[in-house]
Amino acid sequence: MMGVSIAFVISMLLLYLLGVWRRATVSARELPPNERMLPDGARFALESCPAEYVSKIFSRDDWEFVAAMKSPSLERFFSEERKSLALLWVQQTSADVQKIMRQHAELSRRSEDLDFATEIKLFSRYAELRMICGILVVSIELAGPLWLRGLALHVSKLSQRIEQAQEAFHAAADETRGVRNIGSL
């Protein structure tokens, strides 16, 4: 019975993959080819939000300054603005990494020195990063001004979520650190 269930799952997965692949090949024919863009290494240097800006977006200094003004409308406005900026940063990060992986896949398919283990690591990091970006989006949406005000109510739940995300990041970063060359991914 177990074997039959696996058979069903595999056949359904195959049908799904064929459907997705068919749609992808049809849309690929409608888009202009970007092969000739690829050898240009500079394409990888995607413009990202500078580190000091990111640091500023999530800084508590500004929040403390606004809170000292004792203006609820200003606090609300500030919270919404910061939430929007934070979400924009996460989305930009996610889109950048997606773009990098797309370019990498288009290049690596033609490579003769592709390393299986590195590819698997790279794709697992990518999946991990996308997942964490998703968690961040949800966390920012949930927290916002309510999280800041009702810290006592939400801190436990939210910190648990973020702790999980952080652990995942640590795992990724630890592997990255100390490993030299390509395999470091």
Binding site: A7, L17, S48, F58, V97, S139
Partner: protein, 253 residues
């Protein structure tokens, strides 16, 4: 009546497919696929003759030709891999590894299950054996399609049709044999009709995609990856650092 109509339609489409492929010379390029179509055509004719002349012999002929069809079908999967990835050595290497993993997993499962059934070979039914073979085939095609998707391997119309049609056929076969092995063989006539209809649909896909020869899309040259890996690694590390910094700030706040 409907069964006969399907049978004749199937045979006619197979003949059309073969004639178009042979006359246009692309049958040589996709030789295993056309050999498979030729085999299926011969198989159904043989079964038809045996069924009407010696019905006792029919089950043996049925299962023998069925297993041969599965084996040649594995050749079709290999042909998809060989032609589709000939210009993509990187993806081809990934495919070899992934397919290796699929076969190792299948073999491991068979070895693990074997002690539970000491007399497994005589006990196993033809249906179950075919299901197992089709599942491995479905997993292999699924793995290949996943790689085509991830690496955005461009496909010509002909090979795309072969992949779509054969993938669809294999997945429907798995569903059919899975149902038969659960429900028993009393619904075999129903599933046989479903399979015939599905195969007719698949033949329709093949005929439309293989009506004329379309050159496969190929890239200009291969590239060395090391530099690209390092660039991708650097940018990914930067993103990880930024994201971790943000998480730290939120936790700290």
């Amino acid at each position: 009546m409907l069964g006969q109509l399907i049978w004749w339609a199937t045979a006619a489409l197979e003949v059309v497919l073969l004639v178009r492929g042979v006359r246009g010379d692309w049958a040589l390029r996709y030789r295993i696929f056309y050999a498979y179509i030729l085999f299926v055509l011969a198989q159904s004719s043989l079964r038809f003759v045996v069924y009407h002349s010696n019905s006792l012999l029919y089950p043996y002929i049925y299962w023998l030709t069925e297993f041969l069809a599965v084996l040649i079908g594995c050749g079709v999967t290999f042909e998809i891999y060989r032609i589709g990835l000939s210009a993509f050595p990187g993806t081809a290497r990934m495919a070899r590894n992934v397919l290796g993993i699929v076969f190792v997993l299948a073999a491991t499962k068979a070895l693990v299950d074997a002690p539970n059934y000491p007399r497994w070979w005589p006990m196993v039914t033809s249906t179950k054996l075919e299901l197992a073979l089709r599942v491995v085939q479905a997993a292999s095609i699924g793995a290949l399609v996943l790689l085509f998707l991830v690496y955005k391997v461009p496909f010509g119309k002909n090979l795309r049709g072969i992949v779509l049609g054969y993938g669809l056929f294999v997945s429907l076969s798995v569903i059919q044999f899975a149902f038969i092995s659960v429900q028993g063989e009393h619904l075999i006539a129903f599933w046989s009709s479903v399979q015939s209809l599905a195969y007719l649909l698949v033949l329709g896909i093949w005929v439309t995609h293989l009506w004329s020869y379309k050159k496969e899309l190929e890239p200009a040259s291969s590239v060395r990856l090391e530099v690209q890996y390092q660039r991708a690694a650097a940018v990914t590390r930067q993103r990880l650092r930024e994201a971790r910094g943000y998480v730290g700030k939120v936790v700290g706040s």
